[in-house]
């Protein structure tokens, strides 16, 4: 019995992990790692129109 539960848990965790890996690959492919300085600065600028 515990073996089966562990098997299921391993399956779940692997699926989760693969999802996050997929998210990472997507982030790299969409260029989110290309510029990592500007957005950090931009968010601090106020826009008083």
């Amino acid at each position: 019995m515990p073996t089966e539960i562990v098997m299921v848990l391993v399956g779940c965790s692997t699926a989760f992990a693969v999802t996050f890996l997929g998210a990472f690959i997507w982030a790299v492919k969409t260029g989110q790692f290309e510029d990592r300085t500007t957005p950090a600065m931009r968010i601090l600028l106020d826009d008083k129109e």
Partner: protein
């Protein structure tokens, strides 16, 4: 021209106040609201803000009218000073942007109503810049959006080509003080695109594609690291139960499952993440050469194969967590290395030095065309200070060309009609018309650069060390594995176990991880401190240096800050213009120093003729028909008053001037001077070089040029002397010998063998070579162009630059001029970095010794490996980074 007259010589008319009390004025100095420079005069005020020049005030007004004054709130004084920019540069400067070829080369995307363009703007430096440049749409409704990429100093602009042209955008950016850098390579790229197959691969194109390749490589590196990291974490978790409980209690079904999962997760790491190690080591083996990648590839392969084997036979859970952890950390080191290179913008090539557009005479009309369109047989017109873009034949009657950029020889060469001039020469004085005989890309200069004549041929110190290390390491590890095998021999299983364990556990991490991290941090820290190194191995090279050779003019002294004073009768604006035009003709450092204080001087379009120079005495020419004599007292005096009388007349003249302007001009040393003695001029203490001037045969007075030494030199020399031998080579006369001796802290007699004067650029090179022949490792510190030869010859050539954009093909490092006084600290820091690497090396030897003992004894288990390998790698990285950063902090860099 009217604007010019008003602004250009303000320094001369204001001279009386500014020279009278320079110290007093500095205390009260106000900083320009726009750019933060100290305002020379405080006349330009708007809304209670002071500006240093009209240009800065104009930008402020523009921003205020567009309600963009937050620009000044985000960062103080964010603007680019416009004072030193000649505002009356030729209007036609951006003409070439209207050329359809250029335009389409610049545009990344174009349709009827939407176009995209990207510019590199070197001035981007703070949050205000980012803010303003993303608000460009407020200035013109043709601009849709603008996005800044801060780290690369680039701005991406989307605009409507029907409403605003590329030229309009460039002009807008330039008005705001953000002039984009537009290089030839974009034009080359275009040419490449249109003539594909004609093998027109030019340096520029190669570089552009290199940049793209670099970007794709970085993206793939992130991907590789992500995958390796993912595998690292997951295989570690899967191996955990076994580490905790041992092999006995774990359910066999789970063991099999975990084993297979680990293998599945690790396969992409082997095939994708670690692929470049295999490729690189294969390449090096093909050339019968063992690089550092070979032992890594060997270790990784053995690690993987043995893990899979052990999992399949069910012996252990394998070493796959160590495997992916190793790959992960190695790749992190690579990424760090690449990020360091990225921040160094040392990729300038000769194309950045060339003008992008050129004046061509066609059908008697002067038009501007892009340089890449220049063909053979075109007639071109080059003005003072412009570079010859291609080999040409002179059509004007005579003129002067300065080849210092190519040959390092700074004396200008006289050319007459029919002479051939070579690309890379610079026109001095009169504008020259010439006919091109070669195209730009085929010319002598291009081949010079393409032949890498300006690059140092020897291998970098780091490569050398790491290659040697790679070879020794591989030999050592392989023989140790063989020894382990032999030791266990009757028992083949045990022997294989021990031998593979040796290959697994031995890690050249000191070289692969410690050096990139320590050197990367060092280069980064030095870069932030204004010392830009060409690459990381310059740090290593710097620690080997034991002799420093300084150039004087422009290096120890600050030519821009020369105190130039005029002593004599007041000059009218007209007369000043004549003088400026005449001074521009001469390439003598003093003429240049005086001319540089006359703003806009180089743009004057006055006709100068019959230029005659008595080298190092003076020159005579005629400006708009007025004769001008400029030179030493003897030169000018002899012309005016004859050989016998000049001394007497001039002495009296000078004496009068000194008395007249006594309080206004002279510094403390002169004021103490006994004014009642009549022998004064003969012995008056010289406060600097004097340049006498006569206009239309009338003596007008003289300029006093006082060299200003850079700040902190005495302390710098004092600190440097403990570690280095110091020498000074100077192209000038020895008038400054005493001052320099005082700076060096030695007597004049002692200084004889440490200072040489009257050196041509070639002599400087020879001096460096002599020192090297005596076994010294020389670092030359010079100002870039005139010292190109010596910089090239030296082991480390450091070019001093007052702006980062300065370009010297021969140097290994660029030192920001205002940081010269910290050079001793930088040198010590480089030495520290080297010590850190050696320290990390010993740490890794310790770990390797422990690990190899385990391996040879046959005790290596997945658990031991899983602990030992990541721990050793991370401590090495941690030590290398931490110690380097700590040293920087202690040295306050």
């Amino acid at each position: 021209m009217k604007i010019l007259r008003r602004n250009s010589f303000s320094f001369l008319s204001n001279e009386q106040h500014s020279i009278a009390s320079p110290k007093h004025e500095q205390q009260e100095a106000q900083r320009c609201y726009h750019c933060g420079e100290i305002c020379v005069d405080t006349q330009i005020v708007m809304d209670n803000h002071v500006f240093c020049c009209e240009g800065c005030r104009f930008v402020y007004e523009l921003l205020r009218d567009n309600h963009l004054c937050s620009y000044y709130d985000i960062d103080a004084h964010p603007g680019n000073s416009l004072r030193h920019v000649s505002t009356i540069q030729r209007r036609s400067r951006f003409d070439y942007l209207d050329d359809p070829d250029v335009r389409s080369a610049l545009l990344q995307f174009a349709s009827e109503t939407v176009a995209k363009v990207c510019f590199r703007i070197p001035h981007i430096h703070c949050a205000s810049c980012l803010w303003l440049l993303e608000k460009l749409y407020k200035f013109h409704d043709g601009i849709c959006t603008s996005t800044v990429e801060f780290a690369r100093k680039e701005v991406y602009i989307t605009f409507n080509p029907r409403k605003i042209s590329v030229r309009g955008i460039v002009e807008l950016l330039t008005t705001l003080g953000y002039e984009p850098e537009i290089h030839l390579d974009v034009l080359h790229k275009q040419r490449h695109k249109t003539h594909q197959g004609t093998a027109q691969i030019i340096h520029g194109t190669r570089q552009a594609s290199q940049k793209d390749a670099e970007a794709t490589y970085r993206t793939s590196l992130y991907m590789k690291i992500g995958i390796a990291g993912f595998a690292f974490g997951n295989t570690m978790i899967l191996s955990f139960p076994e580490y905790l409980s041992g092999t006995t209690t774990l359910d066999p079904q789970l063991r099999v499952l975990f084993g297979w999962l680990s293998i599945g997760i690790s396969i992409p790491v082997l095939l994708y993440s670690a692929s470049e190690y295999f490729v690189l080591s294969w390449q090096s083996l093909k050339h019968w050469h063992i690089s550092l990648d070979v032992p890594i590839a060997l270790g990784i392969t053995v690690l993987f194969v043995r893990s899979v084997w052990e999992i399949l036979i069910g012996a252990t859970s394998g070493y796959l967590d160590s495997f992916s952890g190793l790959v992960f950390l190695l790749l992190c080191g690579k990424l760090f290395q690449h990020k360091t290179y990225d921040t160094l913008s040392f990729d300038r090539d000769y194309t950045s030095y060339f003008p992008i557009a050129i004046s061509v005479i066609r059908d008697g009309m002067e038009t501007t065309i892009p340089l890449s369109k220049l063909g053979v047989g075109d007639r071109i017109l080059l003005r003072h200070n412009e570079l010859v873009p291609a080999d040409s034949v002179i059509e004007s009657s005579e003129g002067y060309i300065d080849y210092s950029f190519v040959t390092g020889e700074s004396a200008p060469v006289r050319v007459i009609q029919g002479d051939t001039v070579y690309a890379g020469g610079r026109v001095i004085g009169q504008a020259l018309a010439m006919k091109t005989t070669a195209t730009v890309s085929q010319s002598y200069l291009t081949s010079l650069w393409n032949n890498e004549a300006f690059r140092k041929h020897r291998k970098s110190a780091l490569e050398e060390v790491s290659d040697r290390f790679g070879a020794y390491f591989t030999v050592f590890v392989v023989s140790l594995a063989a020894v382990a095998w032999v030791l266990w021999l009757p028992d083949t299983a045990k022997a294989a176990h021990a031998a593979t364990a040796v290959l697994i556990i031995a890690c050249p991490c000191a070289m692969t991880l410690a050096a990139p991290f320590a050197l990367g941090w060092a280069v980064k820290i030095l870069g932030n401190a204004g010392f830009y190194l060409k690459n990381t191995s310059v740090v290593v090279e710097l620690t080997r240096v034991n002799t420093l050779v300084f150039d004087k003019t422009g290096t120890l002294t600050d030519t821009a800050k020369n105190r130039v004073q005029f002593v004599g009768s007041k000059l009218s604006a007209q007369e000043q213009e004549y003088l400026a035009a005449a001074l521009c003709q001469s390439s003598h450092p003093l003429s240049r120093a005086i001319a540089s204080t006359m703003k806009y001087a180089t743009n004057l379009m006055l006709t100068v003729s019959s230029y005659e120079e008595a080298v190092s005495y003076g020159f005579t020419c005629s400006v708009e028909g007025h004769s001008v004599h400029i030179g030493s007292a003897e030169y000018v005096g002899t012309i005016l008053y004859g050989k016998d009388r000049w001394a007497a007349v001039l002495n009296a003249e000078m004496f009068c001037r000194y008395v007249q302007r006594r309080n206004a001009i002279l510094d403390a040393r002169i004021i103490d001077y006994p004014l009642n003695a009549f022998t004064i001029p003969k012995q008056h203490p010289k406060i600097g070089a004097e340049v006498h001037v006569a206009l239309d045969g009338v003596y007008k007075g003289f300029f006093v040029v006082q060299p200003q030494y850079r700040h902190g030199l005495a302390e710098l020399f004092d600190a440097l002397q403990r570690r280095f031998q110091l020498f000074i080579v100077s192209g000038d006369n020895d008038a400054e010998r005493e001052n320099l001796a005082a700076l060096l802290g030695c007597t004049v007699v002692e200084s004889m063998c440490r200072m040489v004067f009257y050196q041509t650029p070639h002599d400087k090179l020879e001096r460096v070579r002599e020192l090297q022949a005596r076994g010294a490792r020389v670092a030359m510190i010079g100002d870039g162009l005139n010292d190109a030869g010596a910089l090239q010859q030296s082991d480390v050539g450091i070019a001093l630059a007052s702006e980062h954009a300065a370009f010297s093909p021969a140097c290994d490092a660029v030192l920001s001029a205002d940081k010269l006084y910290r050079l001793a600290d930088y040198a010590k820091f480089a030495a520290d970095t080297r010590r850190v690497i050696i320290g990390a090396f010993w740490i890794s030897i310790l770990y390797n010794a422990i690990g190899l003992t385990f391996a040879v004894m046959g005790w290596l288990s997945p658990l031991v490996s899983a602990i030992l390998m990541p721990v050793s790698n991370t401590t090495v990285i941690g030590f290398a980074s931490g110690a380097t950063l700590l040293s920087a902090k202690l040295r306050q860099i």
